[in-house]
């Protein structure tokens, strides 16, 4: 992986973070914290890893991405817009009446969204179904599912984990956005999911633990997942909720509240400053 490519991904992730801040700010509601923690992962998937054709969204051989933690819709919309699935201008319609950008992703509203999600715990199962379909048809597309660490408290996640290992779905990759916070507080205090790596391993998954903000590590984990045969892979990405905005980082309050106009300006200034520093 050359430096230029890594720089390019970092710049794209920064742009996506700016979109997240602007769109949630304008909507006056939404989930910035968990969108920002997942921004580097989602950027890597859409701008490095996945085989997709924005001009042909229903291409049968495409890789699929399921945002199981559907409340992080802003990061998905920002990535889809940047990738060319729909005009960037449309991002400002988030959560507004008649918009394709529903508060949580809806596949019937917006092309490029692979599954309607939002009710936690269901996305991984739908990814299992897509991966099974790939196996039945002997196709080589891959399926990626992004989970929240609060989300894995849902029992259905472990039903899906069992099924994916049972059916040896090595075309399925789970990515856990392990930011340690959920609405009511730290996940460890609300209902501890730890030790997460041991749990996925015990369920028969290949597990890789990485820093979810280090592009090199994200890329190499995705490569490692490709090499695994006969079992699904889970990338546990340690992340920071609100990543990139000083006053949002690791603050539980930013799970589901929108920045006001002043906070939007401050956040954008920080993000733009970061771009200048990097260049």
């Amino acid at each position: 992986m050359n430096e230029a490519k890594l720089q390019e991904l970092a710049r794209k992730a920064n742009t996506i973070r700016q979109h997240i801040i602007r769109m949630v700010g304008e909507a006056k509601s939404g989930h910035p914290g968990g969108s920002l923690s997942a921004a580097d992962i989602v950027t890597t998937l859409y701008f490095h890893e996945m085989r997709i054709r924005p001009e042909e969204p229903q291409w049968p051989d495409r890789d699929r991405f399921v945002l199981s933690k559907g409340h992080a819709a802003p990061v998905l919309y920002a990535a889809l817009a940047e990738k060319g699935f729909f005009p960037v201008d449309e991002l400002h319609t988030l959560r507004k009446i008649n918009s394709r950008l529903q508060g949580h992703p809806s596949m019937k509203h917006l092309s490029g969204v692979e599954m309607s999600t939002g009710s936690l715990g269901q996305g991984l199962s739908t990814a299992v179904g897509m991966a099974l379909a790939g196996k039945i048809d002997r196709k080589d597309f891959r399926v990626y599912a992004l989970l929240g660490d609060g989300e894995i408290q849902e029992g259905q996640i472990w039903e899906a984990a069992m099924a994916a290992a049972h059916y040896k779905l090595d075309n399925l990759v789970g990515i856990l956005d392990h930011n340690g916070l959920q609405i009511d507080g730290p996940t460890c205090e609300v209902m501890s999911p730890e030790p997460v790596a041991d749990k996925w391993q015990a369920f028969g998954w290949h597990v890789v633990v990485i820093d979810g903000h280090d592009f090199k590590q994200i890329i190499s984990a995705l490569q490692e997942a490709r090499r695994v045969k006969g079992k699904p892979a889970m990338i546990i990405a340690n992340t920071v909720k609100g990543k990139g905005i000083s006053f949002m980082e690791n603050e539980v309050g930013w799970h589901g509240s929108a920045p006001d106009a002043e906070q939007v300006q401050q956040a954008l200034a920080e993000l733009q400053g970061e771009v200048e520093q990097n260049e």
Binding site: S106, Q122, S125, T126, G129, M130, A133, Q156, E159, M162
Partner: protein
């Protein structure tokens, strides 16, 4: 009269259609021998997935399969298929309008000895409230086979309610099943009985009883609960001036409610609903249970007479 359980007919239909449509995949939650998906599993092992005792994952997995172009039939007992996985059906299947068929067997109290935990008397109500969902309750074996075929022809979610108990075969080779179109089985002008599932056969017995007493009822098999055949209901109300519904389900939210909604909005006439009166069932033989909870031909006949008496 020969008898066959609608779940048997379902297994038979799946196996037959599996040869014709290669996109069909079947999922079960450790009940393949009971729901009869075992017939399909043996014929097409590569397109059958036992998902274990995990209905929520099964339903959402089916959504993923459908999103990738498959036509999944998911099967379990009606209590679990509709109740345990309700929100998966709502959010992962119906909201994105995915092509998933839910075949729910062992519905109603006629499942018998297993008792209330396994007797689904709320599923029609739960399923018909979900947007995009089609709800079919076949009355016998041949109608079940036709319903499975019809479900395959619609692109979207369908709930098919099936029973454990062998029920009389009412329809012959010439029976024409039309989704969403009520089937008039007997004509009469004193009152209309609209029934679904095994209660359709029971309604025909009630027709016989009443005929001997000089009362002529119209009997309608309302196999599709959603979309309900509004025209047939309005026409029956106008022609006969009285309506009785009969279902092996709670009187709250099921066929009776669906019919009542149309009746009050369009053509108010005296009406009664035969079904479970806001109660759970219990253990017993199917016959004992149908008797105890008021789901016999005598009960329908009595309801008809009471309803006729209320006509102005």
């Amino acid at each position: 009269m020969s008898k066959i359980a609608t779940r048997e007919a379902y297994g038979r239909a799946l196996k037959k259609l599996g040869h014709i449509n290669k996109d069909i995949v079947v999922l079960d939650a450790d009940l393949a021998k009971s729901t009869k998906t075992i017939d399909f599993a043996r014929e097409f092992p590569d397109r059958f997935f036992d998902m274990g005792v995990a209905e929520q994952n099964m339903v959402a997995t089916a959504a993923g399969l459908a999103a990738a172009g498959k036509i999944p039939f998911v099967s379990s007992f009606a209590v679990f298929a509709s109740g345990r996985a309700f929100e998966q059906i709502r959010n992962s299947v119906a909201y994105p309008n995915l092509n998933v068929k839910i075949a729910a067997s062992h519905a109603g109290i006629s499942v018998g000895e297993d008792g209330a935990s396994h007797q689904s008397v709320e599923d029609i109500s739960l399923m018909r409230t979900i947007p995009n969902m089609t709800v079919i309750v076949p009355a016998d074996g041949p109608e079940t086979e036709a319903a499975v075929q019809a479900a395959l022809e619609i692109k979207g979610p369908v709930y098919i309610r099936l029973g454990r108990l062998a029920v009389p075969v009412l329809f012959g080779e010439d029976y024409k099943f039309e989704l969403g179109k009520a089937a008039i089985l007997k004509d009469g002008n004193d009152c209309t009985v609209m029934a679904c599932g095994l209660m359709t056969g029971v309604a025909l017995e009630a027709w016989e009883i009443l005929k001997n007493e000089g009362i002529n009822i119209k009997v309608i098999n309302m196999h599709t609960i959603k979309p309900i055949d509004r025209e047939a209901i309005i026409e029956a109300a106008k022609e006969t001036g009285a309506i009785v519904t009969a279902e092996e389900h709670s009187v709250i939210g099921g066929l009776g409610s669906a019919v009542a909604e149309v009746v009050v909005e369009n053509c108010p006439v005296p009406m009664e609903r035969v079904g479970l009166k806001d109660t759970f069932g219990e253990s017993g033989t199917p016959a004992e249970l149908l008797e105890k909870y008021g789901l016999t031909a005598k009960d329908i006949a009595a309801a008809v007479k009471r309803t006729i008496a209320r006509k102005k």
